[in-house]
């Protein structure tokens, strides 16, 4: 049977080059980077090299990179680290309604601890108006955190404009770039951000490792105390194999960006055209152009997404859905709700996220099976209109 992975926003397959770069650090170079002997020094060199590689990808300096356990921790560190440090200067944070739970849940926690959070809405294509962000700034505002690209619908936010407006009023800007790295250019100076989160496993690296870029001069309260690793910002013996894997993945993401982006956009546009052309009452979610090159997000009337996903899985196709039925809370996706899509339509949502290794033949196979599956489920559905 076919085995087609098109859920690359959930995670990606580690690149073979990443795996081979990591292996020596699981085998012979196992030292602790804090040790002064040769074992430790090999690890410390790998750590330095890795920091440089990640900095290079972002157009940053090595001492602006803090390694973490992934996107979630980076987001926590950016938000809580800023909030706790600046709590005497102000207690107001601005974010958006479509952020990843790593941001939203952290904000809710900060609210419990006395901070105020404004959640900026989006339009029906998932875009934030930078002027809404500007208008939300008050004297008490200490931080703005808006994601670079959305993990569900792939909408790309105008971070450059948000940063400019925020800085005019002296407010720090953080962006969650977990989904945009490797798909569109991400340069911290072009974006103008003070902090930026990234995660290795979304760019063909290993799970459980990521980084937070913190611009020189920007200070944070430490969340994980201990032996003073990562310049005192995040203690704990460094995950050298993971960090080496992240660095290799970052290097490859930089080298392959142009080729990957055009390949992905090709597949994406073909998939969108084919689906729209072959499935009646199918609608593209998200923005038609301000969109990650690997994101295809649809809703199909009268069918439920979990059924769709499981049926496609039986045909060897791995995708995801924002349907209430597939979530642990049985709530529909907060992102699709924020677009104003009614919940019965959210039920029929399907996310296809392409990766470097996908081919046009795979797109054809997936579309063919999608048509068949939607037709089968519609025939079974009591809400499909009779014609």
């Amino acid at each position: 049977m076919a085995k087609i992975y098109m859920d690359n926003s959930a995670t990606t397959k580690p690149d073979p080059e990443v795996v081979s770069a990591m292996l020596p650090y699981l085998n012979e170079y196992f030292g602790n980077a804090s040790s002064l002997h040769s074992f430790g020094q090999e690890a410390a060199e790998a750590l330095n090299r890795s920091r440089q590689q990640v900095a290079d990808l972002l157009g940053a300096q090595p001492d602006e990179i803090i390694f973490t356990s992934g996107g979630t921790e980076s987001d926590n560190l950016a938000l809580k680290g800023t909030a706790y440090l600046k709590k005497n200067a102000g207690k107001h944070i601005i974010t958006s309604v479509v952020e990843h739970p790593a941001i939203l849940d952290t904000c809710r926690n900060l609210q419990k601890n006395g901070f105020k959070v404004t959640y900026i809405p989006v339009d029906d294509q998932g875009l934030i108006d930078p002027h809404d962000v500007e208008d939300a700034i008050i004297d008490d505002t200490i931080l703005i955190s808006i994601m670079h690209a959305n993990n569900e619908i792939g909408t790309i936010q105008p971070i450059e404009d948000i940063s400019r407006l925020a800085h005019e009023k002296g407010v720090l800007v953080h962006t969650d770039a977990v989904q945009s790295i490797g798909k569109i250019p991400v340069n911290v100076d072009d974006l103008g951000v003070d902090m930026l989160s990234l995660s290795a496993h979304k760019i063909h690296g290993p799970k459980g490792v990521g980084a937070l870029f913190v611009r020189k001069g920007t200070r944070l309260e430490t969340l994980v105390h201990g032996g003073g690793h990562e310049r005192g910002k995040r203690s704990g013996t460094e995950n050298i194999p993971g960090i080496v894997g992240l660095a290799k993945a970052a290097e490859l993401a930089g080298q392959r960006l142009e080729k990957d982006a055009s390949h992905l956009a090709n597949l994406r546009d073909a998939a969108i055209t084919k689906i729209l052309g072959s499935i009646p009452e199918s609608y593209l979610n998200g923005h038609p152009t301000q969109r990650l090159p690997n994101n295809v997000h649809f809703r199909f009337s009268y069918v439920e997404g979990e059924s769709l996903l499981i049926m496609l899985n039986m045909k060897g196709v791995a995708v995801s859905t924002g349907s209430a039925c597939s979530s642990k809370s049985l709530e529909p996706s907060h992102v699709l709700s924020a677009l104003g899509i009614p919940s019965e339509q959210i039920h029929g949502s399907l996310r296809i996220t392409l990766g470097r290794a996908n081919t046009m033949d795979e797109v054809d196979y997936v579309v063919e099976n999608l048509v068949e599956t939607v037709t089968k489920l519609r025939a079974m559905s009591p809400i499909t209109p009779k014609n």
Binding site: E304, E306, S307, C325, K328, L330, S343, M380, P382
Partner: protein, 124 residues
């Protein structure tokens, strides 16, 4: 996450469709996640001689619909009314805890169809 039995009924659901001249129709919605199911029954001499369903919902909802139509077919009205949510889940070798509410939909749908039949036969 799903048992083999659930997957069997989901990939090959039994008794999908509508009964044109149904004796009872049960339409239920699932308040938890917002899904819908319609069950059609045909009754002859106090027995369910035909049971069909249409469902808009997750794999568990489709599998429980299919399962309950099989369980109800050939039963008397009284026996069919006794089929509970737990019976459906059990016949499918269990459901994941978050999916237990989907078996409510099937049992409620069947009971609603029988109720509809009983009301109609009363008014005749």
């Amino acid at each position: 996450m799903y048992s083999e039995k659930v997957m069997e009924h989901f990939s090959n659901p039994k008794n999908v469709g509508e009964i044109e001249d149904a004796d009872g129709i049960g339409e239920v919605g699932n308040p938890t996640c917002g899904d819908m199911m319609t069950i059609y029954i045909k009754v002859d001499d106090g027995k369910l001689t035909d049971v069909k369903f249409k469902t808009f919902g997750c794999a568990a909802a489709i599998a429980t619909s299919s399962m309950i139509t099989e369980m109800a077919l050939g039963k008397t009205i009284e026996e069919a009314l006794e089929i509970s949510r737990d019976d459906v889940a059990e016949s499918l070798d269990g459901l994941p805890p978050v999916k237990l509410h989907c078996s409510n939909l099937a049992a409620d749908g069947l009971h609603a169809a029988i109720e509809d039949y009983l009301n109609k036969s009363k008014s005749n």
